[in-house]
Subunit: 160 residues, 2 copies
Amino acid sequence: MTSHKLSVQVAINSWRLVVERANKIFSSLTADELLKEVAPGRNRLIYLWGHLTAIHDAMFPILGLGERLHPELDAIFVSSPDKTGAQFPPAGELRKHWDEVNAKLLSQFASLSADEWLQRHYAMSEEDYAKDPIRNRLAVLLSRTNHMSYHLGQITLAVK
Amino acid sequence: MTSHKLSVQVAINSWRLVVERANKIFSSLTADELLKEVAPGRNRLIYLWGHLTAIHDAMFPILGLGERLHPELDAIFVSSPDKTGAQFPPAGELRKHWDEVNAKLLSQFASLSADEWLQRHYAMSEEDYAKDPIRNRLAVLLSRTNHMSYHLGQITLAVK
């Protein structure tokens, strides 16, 4: 394995570890527990689960990996904050979306070459990328891994 | 810049962005606010600040970058949970440690070559590294970036 390929592997592995940590928590939650807030007046666990699913789903077009699987989640879990009265999908359905999105992402990640990871992501123009080549697919992967860790830290507060 | 060097830059930049986010929050906190809990009965902000400082300080020996600057922080902020009656350093001193540790880390990060980032970290043996070359310095950097994001998600709950 080349050095560059190895460094991409390290980044994908870091993503995978955090997804597994999240899976472990979400898979143990009852319907009642999913309605708990992470702190008084803050987001409920079910909202954060949907939020993470929507943000991960949005990675497909940003990384140039095809269409989203569940664009309908954005209106409920990204554009709107929690507790606006929006109708959430049932937990079983959300779980299916979450598993499906993460499984497909991981298999698509493996299909990119190390050099493709350093190409621009699709939320920026060719021009901006030329000025700042650090804003590539790999940067998106690390940013979304941090985003998941951020909310996982909150989720843990309601669970332990 | 080689591809491999660029991927290391992306990882260091991700670390830097999260440190900056943390700096922005910590620099705005009053002494009273530092005593707030992230959720009822959970860690106080000052504890998490000290905890992050101690964990970052421990990266020097793990990454083979020399001695720790403040090993004395471990007893208060890593081995012990919050609210055990331990005497915390004053906020001004903690701020100094935090800035000093992060500034030195960032300058040391820049001194490592891309290949040195893929060498084993010092919390594991040569033998284990031979079996699993993914457990290298870069993996430690990503893991600590996630750790910081995780607690930042909690800290935000007490701040906003």
